[in-house]
């Protein structure tokens, strides 16, 4: 539970449910064979069907159904025997038919849940529908709708399949909301149904927010917040909206049920329309489509091809690689990172080292390369070989990091890099002993101080001798052997 303490000292909590619109990563649109492709020239992925031309008719994409069922599996949904498309009627120029084909009282998925930090959050439903086109507002300030003189419409996005995932009002803080969306995103991505890019709009979140005093069990009047383009804007908008509502309620006011838009730049929400102006959508069954009754065969296929889900994988990685939850999350936060670590383990790397070197050094490598760099193509064998050189004592751990970075950068196999850079660690006791003897001879005063000194002095002098020896070896001495030889000489 997350408590918000107002200026007056009253304790409040947020009550929230989220509506997440997820664009499905099918090859074609939901009701026609146009490419489902982001970023194309305007109005090039359109046809009579998705442009709503007179006489055209929709035919449902089987992949959209399969993807919806994958989502059903991932979030423990019940899949009803039948789902039905309806028409949601309202006029808006980005919608070619002036109705949206969507599912209404018979959605494809019902009653699911996901777990966030040990808390199970209910998901009411998930239903299939078509996306709208996009408007560009011209002649106003900053491309905003307000003050524009006219608008230009691109229907490439019209008809892209959407899955709308509606949660129960189980969310109690903005952090929990962000964690819910994060879990949803990573799972949708893992099961291959969406590329979940909030910045490209392939995942869009609307938040229903109300507040209540701690201890109350009823629900307050809620506002729906739209235009949330990142997890940060979700958190900020919810916190801001909660504060706004608390202030009104503490002043004795009432919350008006309305839709509010989050203004990212100005950091506040503003009213879009109130419930009194709400549309009368006149839903009725879409007569141009027939019901969907997922077959046992299709459901079995979906089950058989489900990958391991992020939550389960996280738990497994923590156990198998002996790492913390944070490290497991890091491994899973970048595509392919966990696969890289696991592949290294399969090839013989020690599990924990493989995981930690991957989270630190592979991540660092990607950061150096900058945006767009992916794990794809990196050879886990490089990590296995590097860790082998370290455990064989041929290079130190720090040298190993240098070698691994160079190997990832394409300079060659680790062993070759060690040779090229002359990094091989000196582990020959004879050679090391000769160096130690030289150091002791050249620094007899320090050796004497060690012999006369207390523990503190001894520690300092011993460190000095070790440093001199390592310097003479250009850092390539095997530290364990060196330590051992120095201790032996000092004990003489």
């Amino acid at each position: 539970m997350s408590v918000i303490t107002s200026a007056s000292g009253t304790e409040w909590e947020i009550v929230s449910g989220l509506e997440v619109h997820c664009e499905l990563a099918t090859a074609t649109k939901i009701f026609c064979s146009c490419a489902n492709q982001f970023g194309e020239e305007p109005n090039t992925n359109v046809c009579p069907v998705c442009l709503g031309l007179p006489g055209s008719l929709p035919v449902l994409n089987e992949k959209a159904v399969e993807y919806a069922l994958r989502v059903g599996e991932a979030f423990h949904f019940t899949v009803p025997a039948q789902s039905v498309f309806h028409r949601k009627n309202y006029f808006y120029p980005d919608m070619p038919k002036n109705f949206q084909t969507t599912q209404y009282d018979e959605p494809i998925c019902e009653h699911g849940w996901l777990e966030v930090d040990g808390v199970r959050l209910g998901i009411t439903r998930a239903h299939l529908e078509e996306d709208t086109g996009k408007s560009m507002h011209m002649g106003g300030a900053g491309g905003r709708i307000h003050g524009a003189s006219h608008s230009l419409i691109d229907y490439n996005r019209a008809g892209v399949p959407l899955l709308e995932i509606v949660s129960e009002p189980d969310i109690r803080s903005s952090e929990q909301a962000a964690a819910y969306v994060d879990e949803l995103r990573s799972t949708l991505k893992a099961i291959g149904v969406s590329d979940v890019k909030m910045e490209e709009g392939s995942l869009r979140v609307d938040a229903n927010v109300s507040v209540r005093r701690i201890g109350d069990t009823g629900f307050g009047t809620r506002c729906e917040i739209k235009n949330l383009n990142s997890l940060k804007s979700l958190r900020d908008a919810m916190d801001h909206e909660a504060a706004r509502q608390i202030e009104i309620l503490e002043d004795g006011g009432e919350i008006r049920q309305e839709t509010r838009l989050w203004n990212e730049n100005e950091g506040h929400t503003a009213s879009m329309r109130s419930k009194e102006e709400a549309y009368d959508y006149r839903y009725f069954p879409e007569p141009d489509l027939v019901p969907v009754q997922p077959t046992d065969e299709l459901r079995a296929h979906v089950r058989a091809t489900m990958p391991e889900l992020p939550a389960a994988r996280r738990t497994r990685l923590m156990a198998e690689l002996s790492i913390s939850e944070q490290d497991a999350r890091t491994l899973l936060s970048t595509d392919g990172l966990a696969d890289f670590a696991e592949a290294a383990v399969v090839l013989g790397a020690p599990p924990r080292d493989a995981a930690l070197w991957t989270t630190q050094d592979v991540s660092a490598h990607l950061n150096v390369l900058g945006g767009g760099a992916t794990v794809e193509g990196l050879d886990p064998g490089l990590l296995v070989e590097t860790l082998q050189l370290v455990s064989d004592g041929l290079v130190s751990r720090n040298q190993g990091k240098e070698v691994f970075a160079a190997a990832l950068a394409g300079e060659g196999r680790p062993a070759q890099i060690v040779a090229d850079r002359g990094l091989a660690q000196v582990s020959d006791s004879g050679a090391l002993g000769a160096v130690v003897d030289e150091v002791f001879a050249a620094n007899s005063a320090a050796v004497q101080e060690w012999r006369d000194g207390d523990d503190k002095v001894r520690k300092k002098k011993r460190g000095f001798l070790m440093g001199e020896a390592m310097k003479a070896l250009k850092g390539q001495g095997n530290p364990q052997l060196l330590n051992q030889l120095i201790d032996e000489r000092l004990a003489d």
């Binding site: 008719l57 449902l60 009627n89 120029p93 839903y283 009725f284 007569p287």
Partner: protein, 477 residues
């Protein structure tokens, strides 16, 4: 000139006549009478000539152009034709050239048919007289002071006037059968889903069906057979095997059980001469070996009311896309909402607006259950009552239209009176069944044709053609 489509195709395929000559003859007939009848929104003379030449080229090259080789075909102007104006007889679509062909248009062209023009209709197929056209009313070729019926009045008139031996119409509540009856031709509504609706501009999607017009039963069967069949572009198209509609046409009606639907025949508003024609049709079938009895299909009496809630509801949504943004008419406005509303007010005629209003109301919050929801339940009752009747009867019989063709202008001021023209045809659409209107006699006062309707259950299309053929053969008796 009065050759059947069957004979024309046979002659063209055999090289006895050229498709070009056939087209020229029909264009000459059109030139002669079209100014009076106004069957067409557009006569596609040049396109038709080119198409006919292509058919003749095929024949000359030894290729078979198909079962409708060189047969002129009139297309209701709510069927999309690539690059050719398709208006639905509405100002809102005036000048629109679809970028694609309706599936039926493609199929019939591939079968050698020659599209000769786009026929007039009640705007968006909403009407029963073809007077609700933005481009002027069509008149009945049998009596120019009378209506041809509607909404496919242009197609019915084109066939009746000899402008084309075949025409396509669409039937949502009787829009093929009623004008066929009023013009004295054969018109048939196939089972829902047997003919692709892709490219048919929607009026009420769960009721609309494309069907044939012809001067005789065999031509109508041939036309339906040619366009019948599954279309992957129409989700409501059924994958039913191609029936042999033509082949079994003369198998007769011996042993068939025929039921006269009391609620559609014996009720107030049915012209006594029309009722008499149904009785004599029944006798003709009995004489041919069928057994005839009366049958009650009680809920059909609610069909009209259910229809006038369901069809406008679907239409209100189907016609929302005409908003001045992507195609068709635009009437400017200071903002998008005003532009939409101005466009729709100027672009749609009164009947279309009336039905959009009615349908929007029937679906709106607080009224859905009482109107649309209730109408859908009545639809279930009608399906059930028909099912019960078809346990006892193979086909049913009724008038097609309560009256003969009425005087132009006589019902335009009274929408409800106009709606009653469809009372006998609507139940078939609500059930998704098939029905055919076949001319059977004339009225004694005006010598105008009377049509009788043969109704069949779903996929009984071949059977009702066979019964219609029996009536056609025996109507002289």
């Amino acid at each position: 000139m009065n050759s059947s489509a069957f004979d024309i195709a046979a002659d063209v395929r055999a090289g006895r006549v050229s498709a070009r000559d056939v087209v020229e003859q029909h264009l000459a007939t059109i030139a002669d009478r079209e100014a009076d009848v106004h069957a067409f929104n557009l006569v596609m003379a040049d396109v038709a000539r080119r198409q006919a030449d292509a058919v003749d080229g095929d024949v000359a090259a030894g290729h078979d152009p198909g079962p409708l080789a060189g047969v002129p075909l009139a297309l209701k102007d709510n069927l999309c034709t690539r690059g050719v104006d398709t208006t639905c007889s509405s100002r809102i679509l005036q000048g629109w050239k679809p970028p694609y062909d309706a599936t039926v248009v493609t199929r019939l062209r591939d079968a050698g048919a020659v599209a000769i023009g786009k026929t007039n209709l009640d705007e968006f197929a909403m009407g029963s007289s073809t007077e609700n056209s933005a481009f002027g009313a069509t008149r009945n070729p049998r009596d120019l002071s009378r209506v041809p019926g509607g909404s496919s009045g242009g197609s019915a008139a084109a066939v009746a006037a000899g402008f084309a031996p075949l025409a396509l119409g669409s039937d949502t509540g009787g829009s093929i059968r009623q004008p066929a009856a009023l013009c004295g031709v054969v018109g048939m509504k196939p089972t829902y889903g047997t003919v692709s609706r892709y490219g048919l501009i929607a009026f009420a999607s769960s009721l609309d069906q494309i069907g044939p017009f012809a001067t005789n039963v065999r031509d109508a069967a041939l036309l339906l057979e040619t366009m019948w069949g599954h279309d992957p572009l129409d989700s409501t198209s059924i994958a039913s095997p191609l029936p042999t509609l033509v082949q079994g046409l003369d198998d007769g009606v011996r042993g068939l059980r025929v039921g006269i639907v009391e609620e559609l025949t014996d009720v107030e508003g049915i012209d006594p001469e029309v009722r008499a024609a149904v009785s004599s049709a029944a006798r003709a079938l009995e004489d041919a070996g069928a057994s005839v009895d009366r049958v009650s299909v009680p809920s059909t009496m609610y069909g009209l009311d259910a229809y006038y809630l369901i069809a406008p509801a679907e239409a209100s949504s189907n016609l929302a896309r005409y908003d001045g943004v992507r195609y068709g008419l635009r009437e400017e406005g200071t903002d998008i909402g005003t532009m939409n509303a101005n466009t729709r007010d100027r672009g749609f005629g009164a009947e279309v607006k009336r039905r959009i209003m009615l349908g929007t109301y029937a679906l709106s919050a607080g009224y859905y259950d009482a109107y649309y929801g209730q109408a859908q339940r009545v639809r279930t009752l009608i399906v059930r009552d028909f099912a019960a009747a078809y346990e006892r009867f193979d086909v049913l019989l009724s008038p097609t239209s309560p009256t003969i063709a009425f005087e132009a202008g006589s019902k335009t001021a009274d929408p409800l009176a106009m709606y009653l023209s469809d009372v006998c045809t609507i139940p078939t659409n609500l059930a998704g069944h098939c029905a055919i209107s076949v001319p059977f006699g004339s009225d004694s006062v005006h010598n105008m044709p009377i049509g009788v309707q043969i109704l069949g259950r779903e996929l009984a299309d071949a059977l009702i053609f066979r019964v219609a053929r029996a009536l056609e053969v025996n109507r002289g008796a």
